[in-house]
Symmetry: C2
Subunit: 500 residues, 2 copies
Amino acid sequence: MDDETKDLREHLATISDLRAAGGVLSWDRQTYMPPGGVEARAGQIATLSRLAHELLASPKTERLIEAAGEPEPDSDTEALVRIARRDHERAVKLPTRLVEESSRVSALSEPAWKQARETSDWNSLIPHMERVLELRREVAARLSNGHPYDALLDLYEPGTTSSRLQTMFDEIKTATLPLVRNIATLPDDERDAPLRGAFDEASQERFGRATASAFGYDWRRGRLDRAAHPFCIDFGSPGDVRMTTRFDPKRFAVAFFATCHETGHALYEQGINPAYARTPLSGGVSMGIHESQSRLWENLVARSRPFWSHFLPSLKEVFPREFGDLDLNTFHRAVNTVRPSPIRTEADELTYNLHILIRFELEMALFEDGLSVKDLPDAWNAKTEEYLGFTPESAATGILQDIHWPAGYFGYFPMYSVGNVLSVQLFEAATQEHPIIHEEMENGEFGTLLDWLRRNVHHAGSKHDPQDLIQASTGRAMDTTPYLNYLKTKFTDLYNLGGS
Amino acid sequence: MDDETKDLREHLATISDLRAAGGVLSWDRQTYMPPGGVEARAGQIATLSRLAHELLASPKTERLIEAAGEPEPDSDTEALVRIARRDHERAVKLPTRLVEESSRVSALSEPAWKQARETSDWNSLIPHMERVLELRREVAARLSNGHPYDALLDLYEPGTTSSRLQTMFDEIKTATLPLVRNIATLPDDERDAPLRGAFDEASQERFGRATASAFGYDWRRGRLDRAAHPFCIDFGSPGDVRMTTRFDPKRFAVAFFATCHETGHALYEQGINPAYARTPLSGGVSMGIHESQSRLWENLVARSRPFWSHFLPSLKEVFPREFGDLDLNTFHRAVNTVRPSPIRTEADELTYNLHILIRFELEMALFEDGLSVKDLPDAWNAKTEEYLGFTPESAATGILQDIHWPAGYFGYFPMYSVGNVLSVQLFEAATQEHPIIHEEMENGEFGTLLDWLRRNVHHAGSKHDPQDLIQASTGRAMDTTPYLNYLKTKFTDLYNLGGS
């Protein structure tokens, strides 16, 4: 980066530092903060958010962007200026009051959600949800040109629209609903029974950490802690990228796959060009690409047969009583059991997208059709009945299961399905270029895969447009075909549906 | 507080939030941050420090202070305006560049100190120390009217001067050096031998936590973690006041008394009027008063006979092998063993002030006489020889033992002795008003003592001038007499020096 942008870069570093500080305060709130800190912390996070917004929206930002002139095309500086301009233009549309209030309301709403989920009490969350939704609707209205929900989607996946997502979900639905229903007609063989038992938390954690290490997570640049909702967070540099997870002492799969998922996010952030630290080029480029990384490691790797052919023996050493007698096929089938179930994060690969579809359609209803918070639980239950075939037993295992809505992250959920689609598209591109990846996985090695991802996805940070990144790394635009073929092949095989 | 100051209060809340955020980032750096975060974190903390400084020094602050008019004398608003004005006037004397650079250099210097202490390598710290000192000298020069060191002292204890401290140290020296030397002539009876052994860390922690609870520490508004250097920190409100400690598996006293000490600080912060949150009235008024609270609980309470008459039985249950056979007198003598030793934080009450005296005289030399970083270790060793009678075996147990200098806290150390003096003055005032405190302590109860401290010291936060606070709560100005009488009586008795 050159000297004409020195002042711009310093200015953007200040904004990045304020956001990073907000990130640390948020991480702390979700991991170690005592209950007495809730009120003051909400104020602190709101202040940081307001100051970052004021700086970004300020005439000074515009002046420094103008002063940067016309940087060399495709250079880092060009990307820096382009993204700074996009963020600035977005920021000037949002009054400071709205940004600060949104931040404060989310910070207060999250602990209220935690409490509500513990007691399965949706009603206690209603006032929070109404306020959160009101503020998000205002944000959407101010950013949009007629399609408020699209404006929110654009925040998480630049360039995405609800109509494009609708097409994607239609394709997914067409391909997977018959499979799910087909499997549902089979007698339930309880193939996931071995995953239930008594799993010592410390042993679970040890195995999860060992897996993250094997994937390539660098512990000198991160850590793993406990939180009510697993997440990954960075603070504006690849030097400190943290994960959280949660443990269920009765079910092995919960923490293990959550840890693999968060490791996928963390490998992305740890792999970003360190020169982008404290600039808008740091951080993953979009939520869809981010989820492609988490889902790739969680599903394409950690739910694969090659993976367990290597790791099952060491898992047996950790839990000899639970897993000592299991053979590879039985275990592989267990971790890929298809069964409509209430919790999204614990869903199998086939029903997972149906959970997302429910949320996508409800978000459309909330932002395009004026669905109210009051009517949300009934709508939730109806959609769950429609797509998953049951009504949630409680709010805790239904509408209260995710932190996203109380935190104000409307428009985020669909990116999990975008991530699923892209995860296979990227994995196939990587393995086509390096067939040895399959063999390495059988040996518990992931170097070639990680290296491919580093070069084709991670290193560039936010430099490229997400569509361009996918085009460049896979040779085509986002395409559901590889993903749907993968699902069909995998589950037809696992459930012996060959004759259908 | 009234409406004329609404804008001022909001402005000051923003500054408070920035400082609180800096506090959280600092706490995190010292407890959980992975090594890869060092560089970016230094930048983030410096940015927060710079923005807080810019806001405080801004003409807007002056305008809002002027707009507040003449608040009612002795009201909270009057104190708010008075302290805001003092802080503003101080801030305008310091260029932003100096504040940001100081913060950044300290943030980088602290991990370097940690590393240097681990390897006992003073040389590796020299470049950091030179930069830290250079910046502190500039701060002192800009704030002072001829006595740079006094300007630094004033940051920690408003109104204190080096000549007043010199008098205090002369009185302490005159009274305690003969006692220390007298005891040194006695054959060493190794009365502290029972405190050495093998002390399981988890059990140490459990007992420390139980003691903090008994003192009145509220765990819903705080937590205890591990750090290289024990400290207590608040984030602008009494709702989240955290402590750290460190454990020595071979010596019981290290973590236990450090935890009692930090609990004293934490009780102060937790006891401050919650209405002062996010204002300059939050936080303890001065370091001397703060240390009076930590030393009161550490020494007047936790090294007292009444305290152990209640707690020794439960300590015996925790460590039956180490302490099972000990009687109260032996144990009480053990935790009050007088012996010149290298580490300040582990020093007995008599030699403790000699450690401080060494640092006070060296700080005077650094800031008034131009002593260089290069010559500091020799000067350190010479002073240690002069006052404690030995030369430190290594830099780690000598000049590298404390974080204060690498962090830039010059002028802080003397306040430990001020705190010692005030701790006895306050404790005597409390017990004179409520003799029942002695009896309660024998029952493991501290309610009356804590209540007296809450009303007379804690609740007011930073509202009153520290000298006024001491005058009001004890009926006189700071006076070494009670403290020196306490030391003389206690150790004459413990060492049977009655005939001398």
